[in-house]
Symmetry: C2
Amino acid sequence: MELLKGAAVSAGIRQEVETLIKDLDRAPVLAIVRVGEKPDDLSYERNAVKKMEAFGLKARSYVFDAEISDADFKKAFVKINEEPEVDGILVLRPLPKQIRETDIERMIDPAKDVDGISPASLAGVFAGDETGFAPCTAEAVVEMLKAYGIPIAGRRAVVVGRSMVVGRPLAMLLLKENATVTICHTKTEDLPAVCRQAQILAAAAGRPRMLGRDHVGKGAAVLDVGINVDPDGNLCGDVDLAAIEDIAAAATPVPGGIGAVTTAVLARHTALAAGRRKKAAKGRRG
Amino acid sequence: MELLKGAAVSAGIRQEVETLIKDLDRAPVLAIVRVGEKPDDLSYERNAVKKMEAFGLKARSYVFDAEISDADFKKAFVKINEEPEVDGILVLRPLPKQIRETDIERMIDPAKDVDGISPASLAGVFAGDETGFAPCTAEAVVEMLKAYGIPIAGRRAVVVGRSMVVGRPLAMLLLKENATVTICHTKTEDLPAVCRQAQILAAAAGRPRMLGRDHVGKGAAVLDVGINVDPDGNLCGDVDLAAIEDIAAAATPVPGGIGAVTTAVLARHTALAAGRRKKAAKGRRG
């Protein structure tokens, strides 16, 4: 089984991003919006900041108290949204319960929506057009497949999980690449049998090592989006990698797989957003 | 094989619509926007008008010359969109090439978008929430299944076709009902084998009788969204009904199947839109 490693794919995206930045007058700026101090958020933020800096972008963290009111947060969010220097906005989610997250999804400037949370971005992903940015994790899966030369068109792809953050958008991105896509979830009957038919199996269920030997067909490529902590406190994915070693043709490790590509895609989206904003501003100036 | 007939399902929806209309001060109004005189459009319009009148709604046709310019059409469309008496708008598509259809999709008031063409409506369908209305044909398929008591949750559903008018939204509506959904298309390898796994097979490819004996598993429910004219000039669906009679458990005829349910769903959406608009207006008046 070949290990599909994120670092190599990320390095390839880095070159693209450097080319994009050369055409700009300044480093693109990503605003990272965090409410509270959840360990998951802090870890994701740390990785994102590191990646932006390594790729020649700037990251600015906007941190709010976990108890902030809906009204106060929205007031602050409007300011970040309108900040001329900010090219992209990443909102660490889920937000605390008192904040109406769907309102924030509708408020975010689609031009700065680099992680695909707005209805406009998601409608574009659904339609398979280029209107907005796709959620970075979903795009990272397709990026990984392409970078390793794994064919997608015509192949049977199975996505386990149907969240709006990964599962559904990933299904649409694979469909755009002409895969025959099946979406599975907690209500799927005989999940192992459905998964075994996959030539490309993407795990985005968020349950530690839930996919094992029974779920993987001979020669499949297995993409693991899960980032979980197992009962022993170790980081692990949704796939039991050791159990599928002699069945799968290729699989992503966790950590070291999709995660590194996700932040690289985030950097690319932010650089692209900066380029589009520059072009739009030029257009307005005539 | 049981024939799944649209008329019975439509009659059930009629009762719902009558109840909805009782709560209104006036008959809900559907604006039908047609550019040119294409036979398909004329036939759909005729059926829609007949259904609206039968269900106690009003239909108003807005007809434009096939050669109308993009600018002139948009000017007229804005007026229809803002017309206070209009509760729902049905745009007969595709529009002629000189009109930028994606602009119209973005212009339509989501509150009046009874056939789910706006990005806001489609983002809602994608997410599985209740933000807007789904495309009527896609919803008609689910309506038919429910009316005939065909279980969806946990079942394997295969949708052939990935248009934004039927295939993709239908996949999302079936997912919302907890089916395990596979989307097939022209690039799918071994389409018959994939289709045979379906307990629910929905044909939305727009190719006359393309699905036959090879594509249907024993006991499947087959839903045919296609409305085609065969080489002999006869109306037919995407499914060769005669060929699957002894294999499928149930199937919709064409004509007489999904079509009748589609216009009934259109009437329900328009009545619902009128009710929501009334409520919103009341809210504004305090």
